[in-house]
């Protein structure tokens, strides 16, 4: 908490850029470790004074993992302050070296301009432009730039037995001062300097606190969720931008802080070409991401999710950026967590809560559809084979007469089906109204043929249309105006509701989105499957019609084929349908459209199937 308050004070005044691809080698597990915040008081002096040997031996191996989870808030704040001071000092140093560089560059330009004129450089000091005179102002050659210089502009280097002009000397000092050799070493051994590493860890800790605190909010923490999700989204998005980490999301305190640090990084790296600050490593990629995941999962036990679940994340894509394992670690874990056993942040619970219900709902709908379909088939066959046996006792439409009625009804249903293979509101609606009756009738007049057909239906992938259903649930208020949308349109349309829904419920949770998108794609494919199946059925029905039904009946039946007619035509079971309807009305509106053209076309095809 302290930390967060502190972070809030940091002005987000600078561009939020982190230059350089940063790879964190050492402590991928730190991210998860961070979430478990244990507040341990400092050891007493006596305790701390003499540590047993074995402890140190143990830590030698794990020395590269940075685990700040055991720091108390105050300790973390102190560390933060120290690191901040270090950054200030580094900044100062960068400024200083930058000034030096500028001076040297100026001098270089000058000597470049003058150096071409041999006559001038032969007789004048290129630095101070004083003429060389024998004995009084003898000329000498700089060891570095090889220009002729006077004594006052140079210093003699005993070791090298030669003179070096002042600018070149300055350049040497600068060369030493930048400690290139040192930074080179650090670079080869580590990904970033210690302060930066710790700073990053503190961020993670902060994030950990953030998400951790949400669990306190319980159900009310919804808003927080979305915010946190957004954060994770920005983490995820950052990878995509490869070399530049753009932190653009809504301003939580974290972002401010990160922005500040990022700006520091940026400025410093600008001046020193990111040399020692952010070690850009081109090392990529899939392998790393894998290892990262695995690291993550096996990381200190406070929050490791199962690694396998990370598979649905756009892994290869963001592994390239290699944005700090630590950074990635947290979001990944969050996304993974709903599969995992240890979902202790509310985010996780959110994730775990949402998808499953949807899926089960979808499954229910699917099975509904399937039963309807099979029922329809049964009816059709029965109609054809034994028209006289039509719904006698418990038929939903007892007042209709004979085959015509039955056929009309079936047609209606089929029509709806075709329109709304994905529209469960309608189908389920139908289902409800017919369900009870047909369940009673079916045993009575089910033919062997009818039995075999249904068996085929359930084999369809149960996952299909699942997403659609979830969409429907999220968008129950759809208006009827959308009824006219084409089937494909409706499929595409799902994206919209989906996004909206996801935004509202878990805004910005990219991983979830990705997952849902996958589901939608799957669903779209499945819907098409179903569509073709339905058209097949339609064809069969049409064949039935063509074979056994008088033309006038057909026409008659064709007319009422309109969603609205349904309610008019089927007054019975009003109650049942109403309930169902109100529940899923929205979906109904969505994808009606396709049906009309299809019926016509399908009706044409027919007889052949029938014949077979």
């Amino acid at each position: 908490m302290l930390l967060r308050r502190l972070l809030r004070m940091i002005p987000p005044d600078e561009p939020l850029l982190l230059a350089g691809r940063r790879i964190h080698q050492a402590s991928p597990s730190a991210g998860c470790a961070f979430r478990g915040l244990t507040a341990r008081g400092p050891l007493s002096p006596q305790q701390a004074q003499h540590q047993p040997l074995f402890i140190m031996l143990g830590t030698t191996t794990t020395g590269k993992k940075l685990d700040l989870s055991r720091l108390t808030d105050e300790e973390a704040k102190h560390v933060w302050d120290v690191v901040q001071r270090d950054f200030d000092l580094r900044k100062k140093e960068e400024d200083r070296l930058g000034d030096l560089k500028t001076k040297i560059e100026k001098e270089d330009t000058k000597s470049e301009l003058l150096g071409n004129q041999t006559s001038l450089t032969e007789s004048y000091c290129i630095r101070c432009l004083q003429p060389f005179k024998f004995l009084v102002n003898s000329r000498r050659q700089c060891l570095d730039c090889h220009h002729y210089i006077c004594k006052s502009c140079s210093r003699y280097n005993k070791k090298e037995q030669g003179s070096v002009c002042d600018p070149c000397h300055m350049a040497r000092v600068l060369k030493i001062g930048t400690l290139e050799w040192y930074h080179e070493n650090v670079r080869t051994r580590f990904k970033r300097f210690g302060s930066a590493k710790v700073m990053r860890s503190l961020f993670k800790r902060l994030n950990g606190e953030h998400s951790g605190s949400q669990s306190d909010y319980g159900a009310d923490g919804y808003e927080e969720h979305s915010m946190d999700a957004t954060d994770s989204q920005h983490y995820k998005r950052a990878p995509g931008s490869h070399d530049i980490l753009v932190l653009d999301v809504d301003g939580g305190e974290m972002n401010l802080a990160e922005a500040h640090v990022a700006s520091v990084f940026h400025q410093m790296s600008e001046q020193q070409r990111a040399d020692d600050l952010v070690f850009s490593e081109s090392r990529t990629v899939p392998s790393r991401s894998v290892s990262r995941l695995s690291h993550t999962s096996c990381g200190s036990g406070s929050g490791g999710g199962p690694r396998g679940s990370g598979s649905y994340l756009p892994g290869p894509d963001d592994s390239g950026e290699e944005e700090e394992d630590e950074d990635q670690c947290r979001p990944y874990l969050l996304y993974q967590s709903h599969l995992g056993p240890c979902s202790h942040t509310s985010q996780e619970s959110l994730n775990s809560a949402l998808p499953p219900p949807q899926i089960s709902d979808l499954n229910r709908h699917i099975s509904n559809i399937e039963t309807i379909l099979s029922r329809l088939e049964q009816k059709v066959t029965s109609t054809y084979d034994q028209a006289s046996l039509t719904p006698s006792s418990s038929s939903p439409l007892p007042q209709w007469e004979g085959v015509d009625l039955e056929e009309q009804q079936l047609r209606q249903k089929l029509h709806d089906m075709t329109n709304d293979i994905s529209d469960h509101s309608l189908t389920s609606d139908e289902d409800e109204s017919n369900g009870p009756h047909s369940s009673q009738e079916v045993p009575a007049w089910r033919s062997p043929e009818g039995d075999s057909k249904p068996s085929r239906l359930p084999t369809r992938p149960s996952s299909r249309t699942s997403t659609v259903d979830s969409i429907l649930e999220e968008e129950p208020q759809q208006t009827d105006s959308q009824k006219t949308n084409h089937m494909t349109d409706s499929v595409e349309r799902k994206w919209l509701p989906l996004e909206e829904g996801s935004e509202s419920s878990f805004r910005g949770s990219t991983a979830l989105l990705v997952e849902l998108e996958g589901q939608v794609a799957q669903a779209a494919a499945d819907v098409q499957n179903a569509q073709s199946e339905v058209s097949y059925i339609e064809n069969r029905i049409a064949a039935l019609n063509a074979a056994g039904m008088p033309v006038d009946k057909k026409r008659r039946s064709a007319i009422p084929v309109h969603p609205r007619r349904l309610s008019q035509n089927v007054p019975s079971s009003q109650v049942d349908r109403f309930v169902r309807n109100s529940l899923y009305r929205g979906s109904l509106t969505q994808r009606n459209a396709v049906a009309k053209p299809k019926t016509g076309a399908n009706c044409a095809k027919p007889v052949m199937t029938q014949g077979s």
Partner: protein
């Protein structure tokens, strides 16, 4: 010292300037530094920024040692360092030739002295800062055998976490003033230091004995390495100083564990 003063370092804004002329006992002309301290934290008027780091078991006196060095004061109270801290000091470094004669070249050096917590629970944090330093004051408590035994572990920590496997190190036995409680004999420590090929000093933060000399010797080592590394192509700068090469634990090949 008030071990960790809370965050905002007030000194930074104050431009406090004071001199502490250190009377260096220069034994046999081996040390070449005149130490004029000018703490002007705000100006960037220095030639080099050198970062040193003190490490060692908890309670050996790292913080008081550095406090003595930077402020020339002693705080007998034990206040455990929270993870990490650092102090700054401006010194004038006078370069010398190997033969002991000064070249007259002087550099203003800004020292950043990292102070680390010795406690185990801060270990991962403090080791992360090892890479931020160019030279190390490896300290133990002359009155604690255990802290001395742990020196070898600290050495391996350094090898694993410093900028290279053979960084410049000075072994420091602190609390030399507590003669009656001494558990580590000078001979022992010297042998260990020789084994590693590093200088050894027995210091007392309480009296200030040898404190400056230890730091300056380390600075000298670092500066020497700096010059060496600049003079020659920076191919293998890390191995430039063979003298400080650690004899124990031969360098393993893990350059970068990623």
């Amino acid at each position: 010292m008030t071990a960790h003063k809370p965050m905002g370092d007030v000194r930074l804004g104050l431009l406090v300037v004071y001199f502490s002329i250190i009377n260096l006992p220069l034994p046999g002309g081996s040390s070449y530094l005149v130490d004029i301290v000018v703490i002007t934290m705000t100006d960037g008027d220095y030639d080099y920024l050198i970062k040193l780091l003190a490490l060692g078991d908890s309670g050996v006196g790292k913080t008081t040692f550095l406090y003595r060095y930077t402020d020339n004061k002693f705080n007998p109270k034990f206040i455990t360092t929270v993870g990490i801290d650092f102090r700054e000091k401006r010194v004038v470094y006078t370069a010398s030739n190997p033969n002991g004669t000064t070249t007259g070249k002087t550099f203003k050096v800004h020292l950043q002295l990292w102070d680390t917590a010795g406690q185990e629970r801060f270990r991962s944090l403090t080791t992360a800062f090892f890479r931020d330093a160019m030279g190390f004051l490896l300290m133990f408590d002359l009155t604690s055998q255990q802290s001395f035994l742990n020196v070898r572990n600290w050495m391996s920590q350094l090898q694993a976490n410093a900028y290279c496997e053979n960084p410049d190190i000075v072994l420091v036995g602190n609390k030399a003033d507590l003669a009656d409680q001494r558990e580590v004999q000078e001979k022992q420590a010297k042998e260990l230091a020789d084994k590693y090929g590093i200088p050894y000093f027995e210091t007392s933060a309480a009296t200030g004995a040898e404190v400056d000399k230890a730091v300056i010797t380390l600075l000298d080592l670092v500066m020497k390495r700096m010059e060496q590394c600049v003079d020659k192509p920076p191919v293998e700068p890390a191995n430039g100083n063979g003298a400080t090469k650690l004899s124990e634990a031969p360098p393993n090949e893990k350059k970068c564990a990623c």
